[in-house]
């Protein structure tokens, strides 16, 4: 029995549907299509699947998915909370289940109709009791408003500017322009477009916000031993962590003693403690980008630079291909698709297989992170 998750399991299959503002299929159908594509990629029969993991916000239950795809008896299933904070934890949970013998073939997935489906923050007057009573009556209605508050403070404390946020948006858009599957393929972004775009929640403009997407993704995880016999080159789950910091309150971390050091810091400490390498050894990173300010905050949290240095880190093309730390090489949530961060996981796998549309030469290590601002998760992948 493995005492550690380190390289004990591997992602051996990835699958996705098309990404678009509107897709005709239901979330359930999209989920099944992505999962079957991932299993086909792995060369594993659906009847062999005995573990599932997804998000609490996933509308299609594992019961429905297992029945539809023809899974066998399922011995492990898990759902992770807090929206986009759950993405990497789905992989982490399956890795733990498989490494400890609770299951043998795990499928993690996320299906979402955000482009054509409901936008809860816009159309719903219903208020969650806590902590909504402290924020929503005052007009902090959407995640963009809540992260905008952190962004303003971050800019004030560290001299970060809108140009720094633009660097993030630009890096993601440039990668999407290289990825035919991305929603923003062949749609270049310029600084002028960014600076003159409409505001969503000042200081955040349109291009600081992720896309609205219909689509689904999935990946397949098996033991490292089994992975050696699979069709694809294994991508090992080297380290996995979740992070819910002391005194955290969800998206509005304002009541923490230090709101600018969010869940990323907590997840990062455990992630690196379990790893054989550190931030300077990461070849490429897929960093959760529902909003541009999450990138400098995450760069600091995961130790790529010091506290307050995340904005400056984005200068000089550092996040671009060939830069110090290429990020979100499929285009990320800002420019490929926003499916609660699952596209970042699959893109990490592509990089380590050497099949990305924006391939980092000889990439052997990749950090993938989940939503910062909410209880989060992260994984380190290695080839």
């Amino acid at each position: 029995m493995a005492a550690t998750l380190k390289d004990a399991t591997a992602i051996v299959g990835i699958g996705q549907t098309a990404f678009a503002k509107r897709l005709p299929s239901s979330e359930k159908e999209l989920a099944c299509r992505a999962i079957l594509a991932a299993l086909a990629d792995a060369g594993i029969a659906p009847s062999e699947v005995d573990a599932f993991a997804s998000y609490t916000m996933e509308e299609t239950d594992e019961v429905e998915v297992a029945k539809a795809i023809g899974a066998g008896d399922v011995t492990f299933f898990s759902k992770v909370g807090y929206g986009g904070g759950g993405s990497c934890a789905t992989v982490g949970h399956l890795a733990a289940a498989i490494a400890t013998g609770q299951a043998t073939v795990g499928v993690a997935w996320r299906s979402r109709k955000r482009g054509s489906g409901p936008r809860p923050w816009k159309n719903t007057a219903v208020q969650l009791p806590t902590p909504g009573q402290w924020t929503r009556p005052f007009g902090l209605l959407r995640p963009a408003d809540e992260i905008g508050m952190l962004a303003r403070r971050y800019m004030h404390e560290y001299g970060a500017t809108r140009d720094h946020l633009f660097n993030v948006a630009m890096a993601c858009r440039n990668r999407a322009n290289e990825n035919p599957a991305a929603m923003m393929y062949e749609r270049p972004l310029t600084r002028e477009m960014y600076m003159s775009s409409r505001m969503i929640s000042e200081p955040l403009c349109l291009f600081d916000n992720c896309l609205e997407t219909d689509g689904a993704l999935a990946c397949v995880i098996v033991s490292a031993e089994r992975a050696r016999d699979c069709r694809q080159k294994p991508v090992y789950v080297h380290s996995a962590a979740q992070g819910l910091p002391a005194q955290h309150h969800g998206m509005v971390n304002y009541w923490n003693d230090d709101p600018l050091s969010g869940p990323a810091w907590t997840a990062a400490r455990h992630l690196w403690k379990q790893a054989d390498f550190g931030p300077s050894d990461v070849d490429v990173a897929q960093i959760y980008d529902a909003f541009t300010p999450l990138i400098p905050l995450s760069l600091e949290g995961y130790g790529f630079c010091g506290r307050g240095e995340g904005a400056a880190f984005t200068e000089g093309g550092a996040l671009e291909l060939g830069g110090r730390l290429p990020i979100n090489t499929g285009g990320g949530g800002l420019s490929e698709a926003y499916v609660h961060g699952f596209n970042l996981i699959n893109e990490g796998v592509k990089q380590l297989r050497g099949t990305s549309t924006a391939q980092v030469p000889d990439a052997a290590t990749c950090l993938v992170t989940a939503g910062e601002g909410v209880p989060t998760s992260a994984i380190l992948l290695r080839a």
Partner: protein
């Protein structure tokens, strides 16, 4: 009476939906008092309110009156798409106020020119991190809700 919070469509701002822990905050607000939960065992203030003290785990608490003074920690200006009552006043401000009595306690609110003024009544040029503000109370849909005015108007 038609309040500034109502739009022509008759939609109103969201009301606070108190939970068991938060109810006293809103009851004191109805009396025009800004109070914060405090542990009666160790004396530490905590927000948001909760059943027990994260420092000493005591379940005994009281609600301590604050001066209602604070400083702006950060702010945003939301633009549509927004719920109708908010869209009608957009772009408006939302501020986060650090309480003078307890700097680690930050309350979300709106900076207005007077208690009953619209959410967009303050010139955005006056929104500044560090600005001193004072709590005032206004009625929204039968509930008393704190708002903030600049100390130096």
């Amino acid at each position: 009476m038609t309040t500034a919070e109502e739009t022509t469509a008759g939609e109103s701002l969201l009301l606070p939906v108190p939970d068991e822990d938060g109810a006293p905050f809103w009851e004191y607000a109805a009396r025009g008092e800004l109070r914060v939960q405090a542990c009666t065992a160790c004396g530490r203030l905590r927000f948001p309110p909760r059943p027990c003290c994260p420092h000493c785990q005591s379940f005994d608490s009281e609600w301590r009156r604050t001066s209602g003074r604070g400083r702006i920690w950060s702010w945003v200006r939301p633009h549509p798409p927004l719920l109708p009552a908010y869209a009608a006043q957009a772009p408006y401000n939302v501020i986060l106020v650090e309480l003078a009595d307890a700097p680690q306690i930050r309350l979300a609110g709106n900076l207005v020119t007077s208690a009953d003024a619209p959410l967009n009544s303050v010139d955005p040029a006056r929104l500044r991190i560090g600005a001193r503000v004072q709590a005032v109370f206004t009625e929204v849909g039968g509930m008393s809700v704190p708002r903030w005015v600049l100390e130096k108007a």
